[in-house]
Symmetry: C2
Subunit: 341 residues, 2 copies
Amino acid sequence: MGSSPNTIRDLQSPALVFDLDLLRGNVQKMAGLIPGTRLRPHMKATKCTSLAREQVRVGHTSFTCATPREMVGMAHAGLGQDLLLANETVDHDRLASMAALQDSAMITVAIDSEETLRAAHKAGIQHVLIDVNVGLPRCGIEPQHAGSLADKARALGLLVRGVMGYEGHLMMVTTESEKLEKVEACMALLRDAARDVGGDIISAGGTGTYNMHANTGVTEIQAGSYSLMDTQYAQLSSPFNQAAWVVGTVISSSSKWAVIDVGLKSLGMDHGNPTIDGHAVWFCSDEHTTFSPIEGEPPKVGTRLRVTPAHIDPTVAMHDAAWITSGDAIVERWEIDLRSW
Amino acid sequence: MGSSPNTIRDLQSPALVFDLDLLRGNVQKMAGLIPGTRLRPHMKATKCTSLAREQVRVGHTSFTCATPREMVGMAHAGLGQDLLLANETVDHDRLASMAALQDSAMITVAIDSEETLRAAHKAGIQHVLIDVNVGLPRCGIEPQHAGSLADKARALGLLVRGVMGYEGHLMMVTTESEKLEKVEACMALLRDAARDVGGDIISAGGTGTYNMHANTGVTEIQAGSYSLMDTQYAQLSSPFNQAAWVVGTVISSSSKWAVIDVGLKSLGMDHGNPTIDGHAVWFCSDEHTTFSPIEGEPPKVGTRLRVTPAHIDPTVAMHDAAWITSGDAIVERWEIDLRSW
């Protein structure tokens, strides 16, 4: 672009855009519901320290990360007051790069095995959390072995801050009463593990279950997608509004369909096709989405449209930056500065 | 990493790797089958000028691109002898950035409408190709209108080099005889359009139909994925071998499953889950794939494994660089230098 874009019509496409008012609305709503350190916003969804600063503005001071790169980037941005790597790694150099930040940042790393414990200890990590399997077949130690792993960590001189357990398999249960019952059953396992482990933290949850933890004993919720949302999370009843899109330009138009330059290289596709308001999406290619209007003629070449991602987390990770909008006006540009690993 | 990695066991994961011998084998096989300018290798699959140089070494001199960024990057890398943007754009600044290269590079841009023609002309583009719809509901003018658009382009002083038509809807037809018949029917439409349009080029095809054009009149094939391959293209009978993987590290292991740190942020997911030789993939999360061995115990924490992508093009686009291997040894690092738009 020759000069700074003033409106979404000036953007080179595909372009990731975040609506500042809607994003702030989501962030404020969540802070009202789950204030301060009761929420540990997850940076995997947004990968953007500028967005994290919006979460700090409303009172959150602790953050969740999925990658060492997110941890290091948050600390370098001055957002290292209490960072949790809610994921396992045995990468010595990356663990050491996090350990090197411990003078100025609070770094806590999840472990779920003797191997991940030894790797953290060898790299000089001081604080760990025991990751407990609560039903999702992914990382996490069996609940009955959590206490023993904590004992081994303490024997090596590490501080064990508590437990985490991610009920990711329940995020999309659509019946609220059924979801509540299942979340409570998972969290009973996590509480048992927490009793054996000790420490202050019982960390769990996500945007799909943030409101299910009133009676679970969980001390903090790891939610991230709520600030931007996507069409999958929109299927749940929630107070959060869609605040992120990929803006595209119609590059071809026939009597039956049109093609926009937003394709599967700019959209996370694991939850299926994106949507376009007022249109039916036919399919996505690398750099195209073919679609047709629900009523009337396909839009003309040059028309700008917003494409709504089905899964926000991988969508954001495909873009260098997000353009921050107020209505159609561009007010800022935020680097997606926590990408890659 | 503290020092340069010597083997895939030293790589920080997830890490994109290309096997140099297998890649060169694929490139040589294709050059034997479709030599020189009969192949116009597609850079959307690989986004890597170092890989393009391998294609130049075996005699290809013309290239296909899907984005202006790929076009400009190829020209800057000295690979601009004959570049085709096989896609439409009305972005004036990007068209102008391509037009600015025309003293030292041959730039040809696809058009399929008066709007895309006017945008190309306004930006100073000198050479165009008429993109013809041959059955895939995406870009491309109706065949019967191609000649008229070419006339309008010539009236504006542009050189019309010919036509292209992508039979993308036929790539995965698995019965060879049925595919051949359908490709020939599509290409009859393209030949009719070519007769009306004039010029020397009839460009079509892809890795799924590269061997279907002996009698179609097509002068060049746009194939790219053949050099690296993926599990979807492997379903077709083809002489090309898998040459690309995402290497990961097992970070968690239970009695029933293991988890590797290769997730849907490092894998194109639009063709479904990846595969891991000898294992069954259960599901992918942002930074994880859960899997279990077909026989025996799940692999231990720290084990390195190769994950085979279901769709190579978007997978490559998620990585900064590819590590080039010979067996398990790392011999080079290639930037994925044509990413984004």
